[in-house]
Amino acid sequence: MKVEFTIPFAEGLHARPAAELVKICQKAKCDIEMTKEDITVNPKSILGILSIGAGKGDQISVELNGEDEEQIAAELQAFFG
């Protein structure tokens, strides 16, 4: 499944938000890919998350594929919400 989010964090997706996002993604059993424009990364790695350089207001899409994808999508919704 695919879900889309807008970055709500004033300083962008790094520091604490990045650390919290990696925590959610690392516990997921499903495969996850995160895309901003033409860059797609694995958000189970902190370097992956940092390397997309997402600032406040940027759109990112997340593709989840696996048994717990719905639960993880809901957690991401709460995280970015």
Binding site: A10, E11, G53, K56
Partner: protein, 150 residues
């Protein structure tokens, strides 16, 4: 804009702790005219560290602080003996990239530098290269050749 030069590269920095590393790097940045308040900048960087470790895995940390103690954006590199950085993965850190950006530019410039570095740091060749350099010039050459986009 040149973010980094050979005076902002320190190989084998001698330091006893993360705090010591950051204080020494901030002092060098101040000597190079990038920071006008060493104490203010060091405090901002350490405050940031206290909220969340900036260790990103693979023995690398990317500390930073947003404060107007920074006069112009800079990137600084230091290699150190492996040191505790309160990393989430529990690993020690031996490579440190310090980012300094004036507060008003913190959002965009900071993210751009962080993203460019992170993309390169995912590659083991690049990390091995950082550990193999013998001189500051070698480090600058490696950054240039890696087409890091800074």
């Amino acid at each position: 804009m040149t973010l980094i030069n050979e005076n902002l590269v320190v190989l084998g920095l001698e330091a006893s702790s993360k705090e010591d590393v950051l204080t020494k790097m901030a002092s060098i940045a101040a000597q190079q005219g990038k920071v006008n308040d060493v104490q203010g900048y060091t405090t901002a960087v350490l405050h940031r560290e206290s909220e969340y470790s900036t260790a990103v895995g693979f023995g690398v940390a990317i500390p930073h602080g947003k404060t107007d103690a920074v006069t112009e954006p800079f990137l600084m590199f230091a290699s150190v003996e492996p040191i505790d950085w309160a990393a989430l993965d529990g690993g020690l850190v031996d490579l440190v990239f310090l980012i300094g950006v004036p507060e008003k530019e913190a959002g965009s410039t900071h993210l751009k530098i962080l993203a460019a570095l992170s993309r390169k740091l995912m590659k083991s060749d690049f990390r091995d290269g950082l550990r193999a350099v013998k001189t500051p010039q070698d480090l600058l050459q490696l950054l240039k050749e890696s087409d890091i986009g800074l």
